[in-house]
């Protein structure tokens, strides 16, 4: 992507973000009940979207070629373990990332 295309992409992402934030205030005037389908999506969509994002982050990992997704798997176990143990979001993220960086820079080269 050249710089113009990058700036256009940023503009579109900015526009999309603004749209999702303003839409409720445009669509549902205060005091009127929100449609049930929308409320239902509000309950179930976030869990699904963060699952989707984890898959999105790992989309280039190959399980059939070395290192068979091992660095990702190990680092994810560290993230989950740390989080179940300490429940400190930043600690879990930092711990997993440091382990992953060490793995790809020193172990699985």
């Amino acid at each position: 992507m050249n710089m113009t295309q990058q700036l256009l992409t940023i503009a579109v992402v900015s526009l999309g973000t603004i749209l999702t934030r303003f839409l409720p205030f445009l669509l549902f005037p205060a005091g009127k009940p929100t449609p049930k389908y929308i409320r239902y999506l509000g309950k179930v969509l976030p869990s699904a979207v963060f699952g989707l994002l984890v898959v999105y982050c790992l989309k280039h990992v190959s399980l059939v070629a070395a290192p068979f997704g091992l660095p990702e798997a190990i680092a994810l176990v560290v993230v989950i373990g740390l989080h179940l143990w300490k429940k400190q979001m930043l600690l879990s993220i930092a711990g997993g990332t440091v382990v992953y960086m060490l793995l790809v820079q020193l172990v699985f080269m």
Binding site: V13, T17, T20, Y40, V44, G51, C57
Partner: protein, 230 residues
């Protein structure tokens, strides 16, 4: 009046300060390590102000030029903001021009503060919310800007730094998992994208994945709704 509201808002935003600073710096270092100029994270932190989406933007900028995919991904990833807005309809009513900025800056963290905290007696709710939003936004801009500057100056080995994004989404996924009674939506959110990834490949699976998630959740509405609401 303003001073009082600022003083009431500040302590509530301290945890956000730590979080935004660390994640903002990580994001700034990451995007500059992937080749963006130092001012890019500053620009996106001001104009997008949605952390998850900005991390995803790093990937979008590295892949092919595709505005439709970028737009649809933004809508899907930020869809949860629709529901923050719905919860704030009444609280943000009648705040005049302030309201525009309050809605613009309604991130996950800002929402959790303005939704859960009552401003102390004698403090105007609109001003309190405004300062929470303004403080959070400045923490994010500060973190991203620092990250952009560090990232373009330092030349350490950043291989693997992109995992910060995977780890962040995995932690949020895990926190949702622990809170929810019904895990089917979370499972759908992992399984369908994997299926789409296998069928369509890494470069074009996102749109089918998003559509199939929406379709599955819509089809399963009856059984899920009964279990989600006790």
């Amino acid at each position: 009046m303003k001073r009082k509201a600022l003083r009431a808002a500040l302590p509530h935003t301290i945890p956000v300060f730590t979080g935004y600073l660390v994640l903002g710096i990580s994001y700034g270092v990451l995007i500059t390590a992937k080749g963006a100029p130092f001012w890019m994270p500053m620009l996106t932190s001001l104009s997008i102000f949605a952390g998850s989406m900005e991390f995803v933007l790093v990937n979008l900028l590295l892949s092919g030029f595709d505005l439709l995919q970028a737009f649809l991904m933004t809508l899907m990833i930020n869809a949860r903001h629709l529901f923050y807005g719905i919860s704030m309809l009444d609280r943000y009513r009648g705040l005049g021009l302030k309201k525009l900025y309050l809605i613009y800056g309604l991130t996950d963290e800002t929402f959790s503060i303005v939704c859960a905290m009552e401003p102390p007696e004698g403090v105007d709710r609109g001003l309190f919310s405004l300062f929470v939003t303004l403080l959070d936004h400045s923490y994010w801009v500060l973190g991203c800007t620092l990250g952009g500057i560090f990232g373009s100056m330092l030349s350490f080995d950043t291989r693997g730094l992109e995992f910060v994004m995977t780890a962040m989404f995995a932690v949020i996924f895990l926190e949702n998992w622990q809170k929810e009674k019904q895990h089917l939506p979370a499972i759908i959110g992992v399984v369908l994208p994997i299926v789409c990834l296998l069928i369509f490949g890494a470069d074009s699976f996102m749109i089918p994945a998003m559509l199939s998630i929406l379709a599955a959740l819509t089809l399963l509405r009856k059984p899920l709704e009964q279990e989600v609401q006790p």
